[in-house]
């Protein structure tokens, strides 16, 4: 259970809210780089943290992200002409450069200098990996550039997708640390999904269906360890890191690529679910990339030409009651991503946490909320920089490992839990 005022504190991210200020402390994923594929390409509308923005790539390849609406009479610059080093409003020809600076007001004499007085709010947009990242906070206080391993390995080793999720970011993110749902909701997928099957670790999953959870605080967030019985005197551990505010990784299986998520607020009732797969030491195979494109693993299929999942609330997520009865899927919904999204969206746009009844196995979620609340109030009241901004906090990996029964996993696996460029991940 969470009091309403705390729920509001953690779920509201518009400009001027405490959690909004916290998200504005970080570089966050704004767009896939492929959405702005070439110089002078079509501009893209994107809403982030409750702000409607327009993204474009100018004639020199510079990325801009700014207020969607022209300062003159408020036209959407999505209709604009992206040409000769700027985005020109089609209504009366005002033109802006990638910093939001107005550089032409055709009706005014050039010499008047009028256009210099006009500037749209703009944010930096930088390409790291397959992603264009932005920092929507204080420009005097830019965080160090993101160091997430999935975004910094060579291009052929990583794949990222994003989908629109029709609910608040927090309930979506909580799904990523809610380890106890996996044995139910996703129980169908372990055998069949091409991006999971065949790992040695899977046998422990099948042999011991009731994992025990150990939640351990880390500098940047949390580790959630799920422990199952392995060989005599040993436990099989699956360790999920969560880094503030909204990054999680799924524990790996065998030599399959590792995957994880970012949950980024669009507004309080919608978020972007970013999903990535990467391998730290080898290129993804053609077959793997094809599976990802086809929506397997943590990815999904789309309504063509959009980032809206093909299975969505307008078609009841293509519920298949026969598959549910047969046990092919536990909930009747196809695919891991949509199994999660369908249930999280069903809670309503912002779930009423005053009504919930948490139990001990929900301690990962309880701790994550506790850490978020502490960080957001420390930032609001004392200006304390929140965890997760430090590049060292971002150098994390998930782990699947067999350990002797008396080992505290966070200490024993300290190295395995750290991203080590060029070194293989710890996975069974």
């Amino acid at each position: 259970m969470l009091r309403k005022d705390v729920n509001d504190l953690l779920t509201q991210t518009d400009s001027g809210t405490p959690m909004g200020d916290m998200f504005r402390q970080y570089w966050i994923p704004a767009l896939l780089a492929s959405e702005l594929p070439e110089d002078d390409c079509a501009p893209v509308r994107v809403k982030l943290l409750g702000e409607r923005l327009i993204a474009f790539r100018d004639s020199k390849g510079r990325y801009g992200l700014m207020d969607e609406f022209c300062a003159h009479r408020g036209v959407s610059l999505w209709f604009g002409r992206n040409e000769e080093g700027g985005l020109r409003c089609p209504y009366h020809g005002w033109k802006y450069d990638y910093t939001g600076q107005c550089i032409e007001v055709p009706s005014e004499p050039d010499e008047s200098g009028f256009c210099e007085k006009v500037k749209l709010q703009a944010y930096p947009l930088i390409k790291i990996g397959d992603i264009l990242w932005t920092h929507m906070g204080d420009k005097e206080d830019r965080p160090p550039k993101p160091t997430w391993e999935f975004a910094t390995v060579p291009a052929e080793q990583t794949y990222t997708s994003k989908r629109w999720q029709e609910c608040n970011w927090l309930q979506a993110m909580e799904g990523g640390i809610d380890s106890s749902h996996v044995s139910f909701l996703h129980s169908g997928g372990l055998k069949s999904d091409p991006l999971f099957k065949g790992a040695k670790g899977n046998q422990y999953n099948h042999a011991d269906k009731k994992p025990v959870f150990e939640v351990t605080e880390a500098e940047g967030g949390l580790y959630i360890g799920a422990r199952r019985n392995a060989e005599e005197g040993h436990f099989y551990w699956r360790i999920t890191p969560w880094v503030m505010p909204s990054f999680t990784m799924v524990p790996p299986r065998g030599d399959h690529p590792m995957h994880g998520h970012f949950w980024i607020p669009i507004d309080d009732e919608n978020c972007w679910a970013w999903s990535f797969d990467y391998h730290p030491t080898r290129a993804l195979t053609e077959a793997e990339v094809q599976y990802m494109r086809d929506g397997h693993g943590v990815h999904n299929e789309y309504v063509p030409g959009t980032f809206r999942p093909l299975q969505n609330k307008d078609n009841d997520y293509m519920m298949d009651r026969d598959a549910q009865k047969r046990g092919d899927t536990y909930s009747g919904i196809k695919g891991i991503a949509m199994q999660d999204a369908s249930l999280q969206e069903s809670m309503g746009p912002i779930v009423d946490r005053t009504k919930e009844n948490l139990v001990s196995t929900d301690n990962g979620i309880i701790m994550a909320r506790h850490r978020l609340r502490k960080a957001v109030t420390a930032l609001r009241d004392k200006g304390v920089t929140p965890p997760g901004r430090d590049p060292a906090h971002q150098m994390v990996r998930s782990v699947a490992v067999v350990l002797p029964a008396d080992q505290p996993y966070a200490e024993t696996c300290k190295e395995d839990l750290a991203a080590r460029p060029g070194q293989k991940h710890t996975s069974v």
Partner: protein, 190 residues
């Protein structure tokens, strides 16, 4: 096979997950009062726990294992365990644990593993969920838990605390600060 009729009303399909439709949620309590029993296994854990017992809890009882808690679990019956309430009066484990919904063991030094076993055993026999909370920050501040010999494999304080709780806890949290105690208990409607 019955005929499948596609729902047409807004509230009978997934599209009902809107803010507007949230207004029509059934508005009755959906759970009863909890009986949570919180046990502090050592001095620093008891200090942290007793600091928050004043809050208006739903039905939680807070109990501390007293000195002499380093018992041999084999030879210790439920009511032989030295236990006390926040006001210092003695408590009987069998009475406290009967009918409880959840048991939480808090440890910050790793001492009194025997007491942890006695409590967990009583919970287990009654099919009561038993969780563990390791206060790692307190353990570090206090140096090595006094129960572990310096040469033991778990001489690191956190691992000593973890190993005290791990055999008995169906869920274990390793927290840095004692402020997680009230956060957790509130979340659990304790």
């Amino acid at each position: 096979m019955t005929d499948q009729t596609r729902p047409t009303l807004l509230a009978s399909c997934a599209s009902a997950s809107t803010a507007a439709e949230a207004r029509f949620r059934v508005n009755y309590p959906n759970s009863g009062r909890r009986r949570s029993r919180i046990f502090a296994l050592d001095g620093p854990a008891a200090e942290a726990m007793f600091a928050i017992t004043e809050a208006p809890w739903q039905g939680a009882h807070f109990l501390a294992v007293g000195s002499g808690g380093d018992v041999d679990p084999e030879a210790t019956g439920a009511d032989d365990l030295p236990l006390s309430h926040p006001d210092g009066t003695g408590a009987k484990l069998s009475e406290e644990i009967e009918g409880a919904d959840v048991v939480v063991l808090i440890s910050s030094t790793g001492e009194n593993a025997g007491a942890a076993e006695v409590i967990a055993r009583e919970a287990y026999h009654r099919h009561i969920m038993c969780g563990g909370l390791a206060l790692a920050g307190t353990a570090l501040a206090n140096g090595r838990g006094s129960g572990a010999p310096a040469s033991s494999p778990d001489s690191d304080p956190t691992s000593h605390v973890v190993n005290t709780l791990r055999p008995f806890a169906s869920i274990l949290v390793v927290a840095r600060d004692a402020d997680f105690i009230p956060a957790m208990l509130n979340a659990l409607r304790a």
